[in-house]
């Protein structure tokens, strides 16, 4: 029977005169080709998206990891008493009279001693040799001596930061061609660097100062770090957490549990959804006009940054909190009311604890968004200066001028010296690590505590 049916098919098609089912006609082929093409567009779109992500991540990692390594020069510096403490009294006030310039010759002498010791042949003068060090080397020496005057007279081994050009040379960012017109470093100095590297006096290693240190002036990219701006971000996040969480939760509870259906509620809801879509820079303008120009809060203070970011994150927190309140089934409320709780008690004692994991997740995501926000911070002045010391108390952390991580990255991106670009990418790695950590915590919280009712 089956044989008969299969054999009858070919004979049946000619009757209709429209070609064979086994053989696609031109129109079907066209339609199928269109189908394949359409699907390919989709795959191409996804691929492009993934590719962009890949390029971005590769770019950040390949350009930023250099910032975590820094070139150091090991040098044994003699600290002669006749130069640093002429009276020999070890009186701190006398020692302080020797300025940074008084320490510079010591570095030259140290280099000359090094050259003699390692029998390196070079035609450079001591001054030119000292030129491969960071401009802050003499100050580092002075601080060391002032901290402990008893070292005067001895010879101490120091690790100095190499100048950013030398650092760039060892990271192959600076080449012999690119320094042709550079008055900060010469080819002979690079030869000298090669010789020192061979003798082990110059080495590249992990640079903790980039993570903990402060920003530096334009002339010393090698000394710039993220630490102080991280503190600024931390204090801003504390302000955001302290304000946005309670206010956001309170607003959501009202809208979700108590608000009657009337025009006021409508206005509030429309406002919240609109605020979520307002460009972040507008919040910066608001902060400048209200907090700084009208209320005279200190410019550049993390407190003001935190207030602005609070207003910006509130809609995010309110929207996610309302979603998690909505997810708590009405039976919980009914049960609480049934045993005699008031409406307020049913919400605060029963609904809110059950919604807490969701609220927390939303808050962390809102904080992560606030942490990466830059534009409003530019307007309230959190860029363009160097905060050199980490804040020493909570009040100074909130009120003293500081930067924030994204603002610091922007600051570095604007500077002329390409050595700062490496810092900017490195800063982005740190910033993204924070964001990834926060988002991971949010995802884990959601997975761990999410309840299906």
């Amino acid at each position: 029977m089956t044989d008969a049916t299969t054999s009858s098919l070919p004979s049946a098609t000619p009757v209709s005169g429209k070609g064979s089912l086994m053989q696609q006609d031109a129109r079907t082929r066209k339609r199928n080709a269109a189908e394949t093409r359409f699907k390919a567009y989709g795959i191409a779109a996804i691929t492009i998206g993934m590719l962009m992500l890949l390029v971005l991540v590769y770019n950040i990692v390949s350009r930023g990891t250099g910032a975590f390594q820094q070139t150091f020069v090991t040098l044994e510096v003699a600290l002669p008493a006749e130069k640093l403490d002429k009276n020999g009294t070890r009186n701190l006030d006398d020692i302080k009279k020797v300025s940074t310039f008084g320490y510079t010759p010591l570095l030259r002498d140290a280099f000359e001693a090094k050259v003699a010791d390692k029998s390196i042949e070079t035609e450079l003068s001591g001054k030119e040799m000292a030129g491969i060090l960071s401009a802050g080397a003499a100050a580092q020496l002075r601080d060391f001596v002032l901290a402990d005057p008893t070292v005067i007279g001895s010879t101490v081994a120091f690790e100095f930061l190499a100048s950013s050009r030398v650092d760039g040379y060892l990271k192959s960012r600076v080449s012999r061609d690119s320094i042709a017109n550079d008055k900060n470093i010469s080819a002979e100095q690079l030869d000298f660097v090669d010789q020192l590297t061979a003798s082990g006096a110059i080495e590249k290693r992990f640079n903790l100062a980039f993570i903990t240190g402060a920003d530096s002036s334009d002339a010393r990219p090698e000394a710039a770090g993220m630490g102080v701006s991280m503190m600024g971000s931390l204090f801003m996040m504390l302000v955001v957490l302290a304000l946005a969480l309670p206010i956001g939760v309170a607003a959501s509870i009202y809208l979700e549990e108590f608000a009657p259906k009337n025009w006021l509620t409508d206005i509030i809801e429309v406002n919240i959804s609109n605020l979520a879509a307002v460009p972040s820079i507008v919040f910066g303008i608001l902060g400048l006009a209200v907090f700084i120009n009208y209320m005279h809060l200190p410019t550049s203070a993390p407190l003001v940054g935190g207030l602005v970011l609070t207003l910006m994150t509130l809609p995010t927190i309110i929207i996610s909190t309302r979603a998690s309140l909505k997810a708590v089934p009405p039976s919980i409320r009914d049960a609480a009311l049934g045993v005699g709780a008031s409406k307020m008690q049913s919400v605060f004692h029963h609904v809110l604890p059950l919604a807490a994991p969701g609220i927390l997740t939303g808050t962390i995501i809102g904080l992560a968004q606030a942490l990466g926000e830059t534009a409003p911070l530019l307007l309230i002045g959190m860029v363009g200066f160097i905060a050199s010391n980490p804040p020493d108390s909570i009040a100074s952390g909130l009120l003293d001028p500081n930067s924030a991580m994204p603002a610091q990255i922007y600051e570095w991106a604007k500077r002329a010296d390409p050595a700062f670009y490496e810092r900017a990418w490195g800063g982005i790695i740190i910033l993204l690590l924070f964001l990834v950590t926060m988002n991971t915590i949010a995802v884990i919280l959601r997975r761990r505590f999410e309840r299906r009712w």
Binding site: I46, G49, P279, V282, M344
Partner: protein, 495 residues
Amino acid sequence: MALGLTGYVVLAIILLTVAAFFMARSRAKSTAGGDIRLLHSLPNYYGYNAAMFAAVPAFGVLMIWLLAQPMIIENSVFKLIPERIVSEGSSRGLVMSDVRRVAEGLDIAVAQGALTDDEADNIRTEFKDVRSILGSVGVALGSNVEPEVLYAAQQYRAKTETGTFWMSVAVVTLAALGAALAIFVTNADFRARNTVERGALALLILAASLAILTTVGIVLSMLFESINFFRLHPWTDFFFGGSWAPNFRGDSDLSILPLLWGTLYISVIALLVAVPIGLFAAIYLSEYAGPKTRSAAKPLLEILAGIPTIVYGLFALLTVGPALVSIFGRGEAGLLGVDWMSGATAVLTAGLVMGIMLIPFVSSLSDDIINAVPQSMRDGSFGLGATHSETIRQVVLPAALPGIVGAVLLAASRAIGETMIVVLGAGAIAKFSLNPLEAMTTITTRIVSQLTGDTDFASPETLVAFALGLTLFVLTLGLNVLALYIVRKYREQYE
């Protein structure tokens, strides 16, 4: 000093509040004869009630006073400054900021011991060099202090001091009265829980109204400064002028049109990148991809939306821009051998990178919308013999169109308001040009550049930023409202 006194006032209110809590609670217990079953509410509610009466009115008055006092004092002090100085010193705001700085300097000088309180109140510029005294305590002044300004500053200080004193008295008294009243009414039959809950509800409403307050704050702050701007600068030039050339010596051309052109041009390029890629990605993910691909690709794409915009800005400035220059620029050394592009910052640079940023925005919104089209419509189309792509193009997409248009409009509003990418990637030259390889500037970049650094709220060059901000706000708000309207109006109802 003012801050110090205010700090003590806050501390006093907190102490009064805590005391009121415990006193009311114990009073409630004692009126019930120690048997809390006789109380109307749980004992803590009596405490909360008293604490609420002590703290809320006091803090409310404190806040209002702190906000209103500077305004009132400034108004009255301003009357002391003769016209002569105002006309020389260009404007009221400038003179007032001088007065404030001198007053602040006197405060600091007293705090550091450079002046005694009496001296600060009575010195005259005729006898003492106030500028050098203030300079010695770290308050640098731009010019010598005019006698009238110094007098105004001293009045300012005196009035602030009196105001703060009376504020402290009023607020602490209010807190004590509130606490006393609440403790007085406390007895076993008092419905403390109901009062507390009404108070809590009021706080909840207050928190919810903060959204309105923020919007009002945004609109008012920008509106006031914009009005100030239009007083100093003709509105016809702002809206219809042809060039943007701020000049801090005055006489600037401040027209929004070239900026608007740059903004729209960059946004259009961004949308040309983001909409096709995002839309096709959404179609593929919701119609073709299996659950595994979907659960892997969707979060990965959304990472693009979670990356801070400063990262994209740097990517534009340091990666995409130079890459484009090596393609379109550098003459013979370039990839195409042409010299069309001179710098890394260009419309195309910013547009491309912004497009990448917007991909997940378009794709996840469209994805939700496509998923909302009922399966029965697809089944019907398949049943009629349509291929999958024909079904998508002729059935699913038309049904989802209003939502997709809404998503694109939202993406457009995002693109117009985006700041960091254009600040770093678009350049600073305001002009009308069709060449995407040239640097152009946008509304947001100009807001940033006019408002960073030293801002002088009396010059049109600074104030124009508020007019730009207001325009931006209106523009993005309009797009959002339009998007919502389209979605609501044209949404097909399938239920």
